[in-house]
């Protein structure tokens, strides 16, 4: 057996083994994951797509405008949480990640794997919410094969950007400040993320229109809008995709730096 422990191990093999661990754990928690993912959009759809129009407070059809935002939210929140929460727990209290940090690969690979698993969970969340929304709200105008590549690209890039952001938040923020993270970072991001209104609509408030561009969620919402409700005005697709690529690289760089600082003393 000793000879075996001397043989080099391919990093890809270790990566897949660690990914398999995360997927095994995620699969066991799938029911909770789906409930957590689906509940919020369903509530939104019930209030904005049914209650408020019934009361005459907002016009019918608003829910269609809102739908891409709801999908974007499910995708991004799942991606952030699936990376940030375990990171905070593992580094802060349980040190469970230690057994992976002792695996024979550069430790950055452990972080990259977490982000990869986060993207997969984000995709599952988006794919789950989409049919749920279709059931409640009726036909989705952009849901066609022609738009599938764009939908897929936005989902993957958005998931990557937000998983990487989760890596940064999970490793760069002290566990005691997790509540603060949600109220100071995540909540404003949702409100100003063009989730409940198209970016073009902000033309009425020009300052806001430019200010919200620092919000990464804007690009995922607009990307979903371009893919799911092409009739509603949205940002140029090229700009959306380029922004998502830049954000992914930026957050990945910041996240890996913060991870390294936590993982090695």
């Amino acid at each position: 057996m000793t000879a075996e422990s001397l043989a080099p191990v391919a990093p890809s093999r270790v990566f897949l083994a660690i990914l398999r661990r995360d997927l095994t754990v995620a699969r066991r928690e799938l029911p909770y994951f789906l409930v957590r993912t689906a509940l919020q959009p369903i509530l939104f759809v019930v209030v904005f797509g049914f209650l408020l129009p019934k009361m005459g407070m907002i016009p019918r059809g608003y829910s269609t405008t809102m739908l891409p935002g709801v999908v974007a939210l499910s995708l991004t929140l799942s991606a952030i949480q699936s990376v940030a929460l375990p990171m905070m727990q593992d580094f802060g209290f349980t040190k469970e990640i230690e057994d992976r940090l002792l695996s024979p690969v550069p430790i950055q690979l452990v972080a990259v794997e977490k982000v990869f698993a986060g993207v997969l969970q984000g995709i599952v969340a988006a794919l789950f919410v989409l049919p749920v929304a279709r059931l409640i709200m009726g036909p989705i105008p952009g849901l066609s094969f022609a738009n599938a590549p764009l939908l897929l690209a936005v989902t993957i890039l958005g998931g990557a950007a937000f998983s990487a952001m989760g890596l940064y938040l999970g490793t760069g923020i002290a566990p005691q400040q997790i509540g603060l993270m949600f109220s100071v970072i995540v909540a404003p991001m949702i409100m100003f993320g063009c989730t409940y209104y198209p970016w073009a609509g902000l033309a009425h408030v020009p300052v806001m229109k430019w200010l919200v561009l620092i919000n990464p969620l804007v690009y995922v919402s607009e990307g979903m809008r371009a893919a799911l409700t092409p009739g509603v005005p949205h940002m140029p697709i090229a700009a959306i995709l380029a922004a998502l690529v830049v954000l992914t690289v930026l957050f990945m760089w910041m996240g890996l730096k913060a991870f390294d600082k936590r993982a090695m003393s």
């Binding site: 422990s5 001397l6 661990r21 066991r28 040190k95 469970e96 230690e98 057994d99 024979p104 003393s265």
Partner: protein, 329 residues
């Protein structure tokens, strides 16, 4: 060939930042160099040794193990473990070592056997082999009946065994254990000793840190005594005990500062050394217990009343105290 070699190893942690408060004069700046955890440490551990690192809490034991297991960055010097440099080839080091942490940190989302199987696959071992090996290890460590249990259902001692099984799941050449018996009841500690002896008998190099004298004495072939990051002594337990002052240590606690008493006692016949630490007087003497009346008298002559007296025969403990002026635990 040496399993472990360190040369002029040094680790300095950055000093914690001091926050300025308004209206309060700035506190004295911390030493600009930071906190020195390991200082100019040279060690060589031969393959197949059972090597102990002995020292009190805060001596630098955990930092040393952290460096050797590639989890702590070196400030200066170098360390080679199982033929690989911890700074430039950390993945190669990790492939060849097993680590049992100070506090069990099993993967709580997985069952007992899954902890072993997944960990082994992180080292490129196939799942079938990993499963077979995991079962063997659980049997050998006496927790096979917990195979499918959740980790939370294990007792502290059982979790520690699981950590040992995990450290062995990829058949490492060098096994590191950081104070493995802290928090275990005496029975669990003894059975852990048995397990460690068996591992050593199989030809593995074992490096264990501890602050229990008896443990170090019983298990280790060689011992490094460290304090404040420095190597104070390095030898077999037997040789170290010979180096211990050949005197009995008499510790007398007075009701007040013992400095004046120490000065008087040092001049007494048969006293090789005496020193005071607050109300505590430490006297090394061949006369042992026979010296006690004289010590009580010396105290009374300086207006001190005895509160407590303690005798220790020459041991690793008394050696440690004579080297550092501190107790181990």
């Amino acid at each position: 060939m040496n399993a472990i070699e360190t040369r002029s190893l040094r680790k300095v942690y950055p000093a914690p930042a001091v926050k300025k408060k308004r209206g309060v004069p700035a506190p004295p700046a911390p030493p600009s160099g930071g906190i020195v955890a390991i200082d100019a440490l040279d060690l060589a551990v031969a393959e197949g040794e059972f090597f102990g690192v002995l020292g009190p809490n805060g001596a630098g034991k955990t930092t040393l193990i952290g460096i050797l297991t590639t989890r702590v960055r070196i400030t200066a010097g170098e360390a080679v473990v199982a033929g690989a440099n911890v700074t430039t080839q950390p993945a190669d080091v990790r492939r060849r070592i097993g680590v049992v942490p100070q506090r069990p940190n099993p993967d709580r989302s997985l069952s007992v056997i899954e902890n072993l199987v997944f960990h082994a696959t992180y080292f490129g071992i196939s799942r079938a082999d990993a499963h077979r090996r995991g079962q063997e290890l659980l049997e050998r460590l006496g927790i096979a009946d917990k195979m499918n249990a959740k980790v939370d259902q294990l007792s502290g001692g059982q979790q520690q065994r699981l950590m040992i099984a995990r450290a062995l799941s990829h058949d490492p050449r060098v096994v590191f254990l950081d104070e493995p018996t802290v928090g275990l009841d005496p029975q669990a500690r003894l059975s852990l000793w048995e397990i460690l002896r068996e591992l050593h008998a199989q030809g593995r190099t074992i490096v264990m840190s501890t602050h229990y004298m008896e443990e170090a004495d019983q298990l280790c072939g060689r011992l490094a005594i460290i304090d404040q990051g420095k190597l104070l002594a390095l030898d077999t337990p037997a040789a170290l005990k010979l180096k211990a002052p050949g005197d009995t240590l008499v510790e007398v606690t007075f009701d007040g500062d013992a400095t004046v008493v120490a000065d008087a006692v040092r001049a007494m016949e048969g006293v090789s050394n005496a020193e005071a630490r607050g109300p505590l007087l430490r006297v090394f003497s061949k006369r042992g217990g026979a010296l006690i009346p004289a010590l009580i008298d010396a105290g009374e002559a300086h207006g001190r009343i005895v509160r407590d007296i303690h005798l220790s025969r020459p041991s690793l403990e008394t050696l440690f105290i004579s080297l550092t002026g501190r107790k181990l635990t």
